[in-house]
């Protein structure tokens, strides 16, 4: 299946749900959907486009919104599903019911961007330490690292 055929099929199958389909390079397809249609779109990709393999999930801080990219890969093409959620209420549905292998990427997304993944089976932190202060999300653009002052126990203050 060539890229053009895949795009035609995607437009036909998804109809108005596909907000934007682009093909910037050979075997690279970017598809934009509403956050509400995400799980349906992912299910369709898995069942009809041989995209059971989720390579990863990338988050992106765009100022007012978060962009989330789900990078799928089939032998024919690399299909990237893009969706945007507002920073004020960063809620996104979990796709682990469709793709069980997505769990670690969704947990990483919660740690790094402070997104809330609804219906995630295991919401524990994955990469941040246990004593990480709440409300610190390192990959947000407005987060800056400040080294805490060193305290020597029993030493001079």
């Amino acid at each position: 299946m060539t890229d053009i055929e895949i795009i035609e099929r995607l437009k036909r199958d998804l109809g108005p749900e596909a907000l934007e389909v682009t093909n910037p390079d050979r075997r690279r397809i970017f598809l934009k959907v509403d956050p509400g249609d995400l799980v349906a779109a992912v299910t369709l990709l898995r069942d009809k486009y041989d995209c059971a393999y989720l390579a990863t999930i990338s988050g992106l801080d765009k100022g007012e919104t978060f962009e989330i990219l789900y990078h799928f890969a089939s032998p024919a093409a690399n299909i990237n599903v893009r969706t945007e959620v507002p920073k004020a209420s960063p809620h996104i549905d979990s796709i682990t019911a469709v793709i069980p292998g997505a769990i670690l990427y969704e947990r990483e997304l919660q740690d790094m961007f402070g997104l809330v993944v609804d219906r995630i089976p295991d919401p524990r932190p994955l990469v941040v330490p246990d004593d990480w202060p709440a409300g610190n999300f390192p990959l947000r653009k407005d987060w800056k690292f400040e080294r805490p002052p060193e305290i020597i126990p029993g030493g001079k203050s």
Binding site: P24, D25, R27, R28, F30, A52, Y53, L54, A55, T56, S58, G59, L60, D61, L69, H71, A73, P75, N78, N80, I99, P100, G101, A102, I103, L104, M112, P125, L126, V127, V128, P129, P138, L139, F145
Partner: protein
């Protein structure tokens, strides 16, 4: 009675800090839980503050074994963003180093697998032969670990006729050795019996848990970025994707030996196609606002970088997905309903020596702390009773 056994984050047998919490019943693992983050370096955040050139050296330091993989994956993407095409000779040299790196990584892994299975001569043989390819890499780049061959628009060092002859000589020697390992594996019953049927991962599990690389290929999935999404020179090469259907550690050994032999083929083809010319083109300092998904087949599986540029000399976002992260959910599935003795083999880097600590004749009842001394024959009878329902271990079948 269920016990939880923590392994790590710091453990004498662990090469890297990771925490595994095993829930065991008897010697059978019921559940495994993985906690990451003990070595998180905040590299994605750091990359946003570095220039394109600095980021090549940063990404090269993500891994100490497949250092070239991450740098190549990043450079591939950055070149797309800058709209430059490296000259053919530069590309050939870049992917020649990639294949040499795959050879050294797979030889290293084979040695570790042999060591964990208790076959230490195999470990010593493969690591001795690995020196051949390490010397070749040093000959080409001047370094054994961080080759620093990549730059935007090509590679930094050319290779001459003398080096070419040395590489061909080294590859011929390595091929002979690898075929010998093939022979040893097929005719060494104790090695095969130890690794066959251990760490089962069915094809359905591998698909649903998004496994990558030799782990997925050993479960019968033909997924290789070099074939599916050939970047640069791979579409000119004649090679096959090595797979196995046994879905266990034996299959993973087989896949890696097959890949070694395919890599030698690719190296020879690259050297024969190498034509004179430039090795690098000049790259611009900035990249136009755009985004790119760069995929690369590292020795452990698919490596993926998502890079977004914003018109400056620094990337807006660099997302790195290393193959090991993709294989963790599959590892948990492999560990489940395995034996404690198989943890080191399945996890390859872990040697927890739990069995040594659990030799006892004085039993303490965990519920009320009551201590009873039992006879050995009685203990044996209890053990047989306890392990009646243990998962059956498959008989060894060598897949050739």
């Amino acid at each position: 009675m269920k016990f939880q056994i923590p392994i790590g984050p710091q453990h004498p047998a662990l090469k890297e800090p990771i925490s595994l919490r095993m829930t065991v019943e008897g010697e059978v693992i019921q559940d495994a839980d993985i906690r990451l983050g003990y070595n998180h370096r905040g590299l994605e955040k750091l990359a946003e503050e570095k220039t394109w050139i600095q980021n090549i050296y940063l990404t090269e330091r993500i891994c100490g074994i497949c250092s070239h993989s991450h740098a190549t994956c990043f450079v591939q993407g950055a070149e797309k963003l800058m709209e430059i095409v490296p000259p053919k000779r530069g590309l050939y040299i870049r992917y020649l180093v990639s294949e040499l790196e795959r050879v050294h990584s797979h030889l290293l892994w084979l040695g570790v697998a042999g060591h964990e299975a208790g076959f230490d001569s195999f470990f010593m043989y493969t690591w001795r032969d690995r020196e051949i390819v390490m010397d070749l890499l040093e000959l080409i780049s001047g370094n054994r670990v961080h080759y620093a061959m990549n730059t935007l628009g090509g590679v930094r060092r050319d290779i001459d006729e003398g080096q070419k002859a040395k590489i061909l000589e080294g590859v011929a020697a390595l091929r002979k050795r690898s075929e010998y390992y093939f022979h040893i594996g097929a005719n060494e019953p104790s090695f095969v019996a130890r690794i066959a049927g251990v760490g089962l991962l069915t094809k359905e599990q591998a698909v649903s848990l998004c496994a990558v690389g030799p782990t997925a290929r050993a479960s019968g999935i033909t997924r290789d970025v070099r074939k599916d999404d050939p970047c640069a020179v791979y579409d000119e090469m004649d090679f096959e994707v090595g797979t196995a259907d046994s879905c266990d550690v034996l299959g993973r050994v087989v896949v890696r030996v097959k890949e070694l032999l395919e890599s030698y083929k690719i190296i020879e083809q690259i050297l024969h196609k190498l034509s004179p010319g430039d090795i690098v083109v000049k790259a611009p300092r900035k990249a136009k606002p755009n985004e790119v998904v760069s995929r690369y087949e590292a020795p452990r599986g698919e490596n993926m970088h998502y890079i977004k540029s914003n018109g400056t000399d620094k990337p807006e976002r660099l997302k790195v997905r290393a193959p090991t992260l993709a294989n963790y959910p599959a590892t948990v599935a492999m560990l489940k309903s395995g034996f404690i003795a198989d943890i080191p083999l399945i996890f390859a880097a872990i040697d927890p020596c739990i069995c040594c600590a659990e030799r006892t004749v004085s039993l303490v009842n965990a519920r009320n702390g009551e201590e009873t001394t039992v006879r050995l024959s009685d203990l044996r009878r209890r053990a047989i009773e306890q392990h009646k329902n243990a998962p059956p271990k498959r008989n060894a079948v060598w897949p050739f």
